[in-house]
């Protein structure tokens, strides 16, 4: 098997001892080359993995103990339905959502978008784009550029329409980053990394950046009446 892959063929006149073997790998083979898998080195689980698990557990406990010794969990006064704090904030992992609620109508930001995100996450492994993960600009780059620009333009336009500049501005920056390797042909490490990213990578990068930016804004930059404040 390995010899065939490396194009080394044993030659002999006697076909009964050395039959001529030809392996054809069509370009569309869905499975990645299996060569490395057979070569992969195996180690004993005990002690190699077990010791790592034990050490990992100990480090987690130690770090948590240190954090818990020095930082106290917040506890405010008894809940009082008559006294609404301004602003009332959700737990930090929902502040991105709350920030969305500020700009978009509640049914979109509170129901539609979260549901779309969950559905999008679930269906990821069932789409070929996400399985192949081909570089975005490898084939048909011109059509892709037009489509991609149109999508981004719509996104930015909609966000600006709803005053969601916290989405519009990062999206424009993101757009510049994505199309950079299309125009700049210079090859350094950063450029080739950008060039190699697939469409699914880019969508995830966009989603994670927007989610983090919205969460940070919701956590630190929002004050009374959800107005913009500076944390310092």
């Amino acid at each position: 098997m390995k010899d065939i892959i490396k194009n080394k063929v044993e030659i002999s006149d006697d076909p009964s001892t050395v039959p001529r073997r030809i392996a054809v790998f069509p370009e569309k083979t869905p499975v990645r080359f299996e060569e490395e898998k057979t070569e992969e080195k195996l180690v004993m689980t005990f002690p190699n993995l077990i010791i790592r698990e034990v050490i990992c557990f100990q480090i987690v406990v130690i770090i948590l103990t240190l954090i818990s010794l020095f930082i106290n969990a917040p506890l405010e006064e008894l809940a009082n339905p008559q006294n609404t704090p301004n602003p009332a904030k959700a737990p930090w992992y929902f502040l991105g959502l709350q920030e969305l609620l500020h700009s978009f109508p509640p049914i979109v930001a509170g129901v539609l978008l979260p549901m779309l995100v969950v559905i999008a996450l679930i269906i990821i492994p069932y789409f070929n784009v996400n399985i192949k993960k081909e570089s975005l600009w490898r084939n048909n780059s011109k059509i892709k550029l037009i489509n991609f620009s149109a999508v981004i333009l719509t996104l930015v336009a909609v966000s600006i329409l709803f005053d969601a500049y916290s989405i519009a501005v990062p999206t424009i920056l993101f757009y510049v980053l994505v199309i950079l390797p299309y125009f700049v042909k210079k090859k350094n490490r950063l450029m080739s990394w950008l060039y190699e990213r697939s469409l699914s990578d880019w969508i995830m990068i966009w989603f994670v950046s927007i989610a983090s930016i919205l969460t940070v804004i919701g956590t630190y930059f929002r004050g009374p009446g959800w107005s913009w404040v500076w944390p310092w």
Partner: protein
């Protein structure tokens, strides 16, 4: 050291632990995994690349360990907690000022909860960018997404339990979002809160969700998640 060795060779020790000592050959090392209830979810051999830190950053493992810490500290906290108004809040004060190491216990629970939300999310990102959801692991990815949602729900239901201003209004914000679900929004909100606004029954419902229902579902799905990793040719 000698005494430990003697202890490990006593009849009693050998009746409890199936592994024979000393462990010197690879067969013995396999038997350590084979003969242990807790370890036998592992294969006896693993790919060297798969246990490398830079490959997975151990994020799944860390999330699981945080979950274990959360269960332990959570059970201890349950000993001091009554899901009622205003007892819940008074219990918090008791945990802070009366219970030995109570503040530490609560800190531990809260910070590991926040950290777990973070590590589970990072774990998802790692799996995505390494392409570890590709066939045959599609379904395990879905279980993972559900586990992420469960983590968020667990954290959210736990947020109300101290019943201070912070938790009350955070949960109010969340419950108001539920209201916007078309047609059945107010009904779902009523079901969740056990009333039209947060009260005694909300506390009980969130308490049962947080301490019984969601952790049980979580444990089941974690077990399924681990089993699938193994069956799909992964690390465990």
């Amino acid at each position: 050291m000698k005494k430990i060795e003697w202890l490990m060779n006593t009849k009693i020790w050998r009746s409890i632990f199936r592994t024979k000592l000393p462990i010197s050959t690879n067969l013995d090392r396999s038997l350590v995994i084979f003969n242990s209830l807790t370890l036998h979810i592992h294969p006896v051999k693993v790919r060297e690349k798969a246990i490398c830190f830079s490959y997975t950053f151990y994020l799944g493992m860390i999330s699981f360990f945080l979950f274990v810490i959360l269960i332990v500290t959570g059970i201890l906290l349950m000993l001091y907690y009554q899901p009622a108004i205003p007892n819940a809040y008074q219990n918090m004060k008791d945990i802070q000022y009366v219970v030995s190491n109570g503040t530490f216990l609560r800190n531990m629970h809260r910070w590991s909860a926040h950290l777990m939300v973070f590590t589970v999310f990072l774990h998802m990102l790692r799996v995505f960018f390494k392409g570890a959801y590709k066939p045959p692991r599609e379904f395990n990815w879905i279980i993972g997404v559900i586990l992420l949602l469960l983590t968020l729900l667990l954290s959210y239901t736990g947020y109300l339990l101290p019943y201070d201003q912070l938790s009350y209004w955070a949960v109010t914000v969340g419950a108001n979002i539920v209201k916007y679900v078309p047609f059945i929004g107010t009904k779902i909100r009523f079901l969740l809160l056990g009333g039209n606004q947060i009260g005694d029954y909300t506390l009980v419902r969130f308490y049962v969700l947080h301490c019984v229902i969601l952790p049980s579902v979580m444990l089941l799905l974690v077990a399924l998640h681990f089993w699938r990793i193994r069956k799909d040719g992964g690390l465990l």
